[in-house]
């Protein structure tokens, strides 16, 4: 029985014998350890994604700036201001951060007039939302931005394993990105 299932079982039990009490203490300690480690890894994901957008700068400086802003915005908070648990933060960092990079890449392949004039709202209105954008962006990046492509491949794979979270977090991230004023970053 894995940690989550054991924990759920423990929570429904009212009868805490000394043995169960000790087990409960151990589970709580395990949860704390995992959450702390995950919280740190969420920061690594953000750093990795931001550093990979530097690769975009060699070819397309305006999008690199926008991508960095988008990652920061997408990971910083949810559009509904939902407080994320430390455990959820890593899923959010991978999915929202990956989505932000994907959108920046897709944007870089679009005619620039609309993006420059309208900022994020204009840009994202033209891109159909969905996890496929991440896959398409990975394909697009493979030749031009080789450092970004494998990370997006891994994000795509992760989203496939976490379909429910991917849908929720992806939509949240998109709403956050839509409200960003990136006009100056695109200029």
């Amino acid at each position: 029985m894995n940690f989550e299932n054991r924990r759920k079982k423990e929570l429904v039990s009212e009868d805490l014998s000394p043995k169960k009490e000790k087990e409960s203490f151990v589970f709580e300690r395990q949860r704390e350890i995992m959450e702390r480690a995950k919280f740190e890894r969420a920061q690594y994901v953000k750093d990795i994604l931001v550093s990979r957008t530097a690769d975009l700068a060699t070819n397309f400086i305006p999008v690199a700036g926008a991508a960095k802003m988008m990652i920061e915005a997408a990971i910083g908070k949810t559009s509904s201001k939902t407080k994320l648990t430390r455990r959820e933060r890593i899923d959010y960092a991978i999915i929202a951060g990956g989505t932000a990079v994907a959108y920046a890449l897709v944007f870089s392949g679009m005619p620039q007039e609309g993006g420059m004039a309208q900022g994020a709202v204009g840009v994202f209105g033209k891109i159909e939302f969905g996890p496929m954008v991440v896959k398409e962006a990975a394909e697009f990046a493979r030749e031009k931005f080789p450092a970004v492509a494998p990370v997006l491949d891994a994000v795509w794979d992760f989203m496939g394993k976490k379909k429910e979270a991917a849908k929720r977090i992806g939509e949240e991230a998109l709403r956050t990105l839509e409200h960003m004023d990136t006009r100056h970053a695109f200029l």
Binding site: V26, M34, A37, D91, D153, A154, V155, F158
Partner: protein, 56 residues
């Protein structure tokens, strides 16, 4: 990479999320040396602490 796979396997046994660990395995070879060291140190520390918590 072998070290990461070994740590990941052990962490999954401890209840860690296999999807997240697969993410790190997938990108590991594409990370800089410094990034690889950071993630390995983080996962090693987590595994060590989880084992200690189990023994207590």
């Amino acid at each position: 990479m072998k070290k990461l796979e070994e740590i990941s396997d052990e962490l999954v046994k401890q209840g860690e999320d296999p999807a997240e660990l697969a993410f790190w395995e997938a990108i590991f070879d594409h990370l800089t040396e410094e990034e690889q060291k950071k993630i390995l140190a983080n996962l090693e520390k987590e595994l060590e602490e989880l084992k200690k918590a189990n023994q207590s």
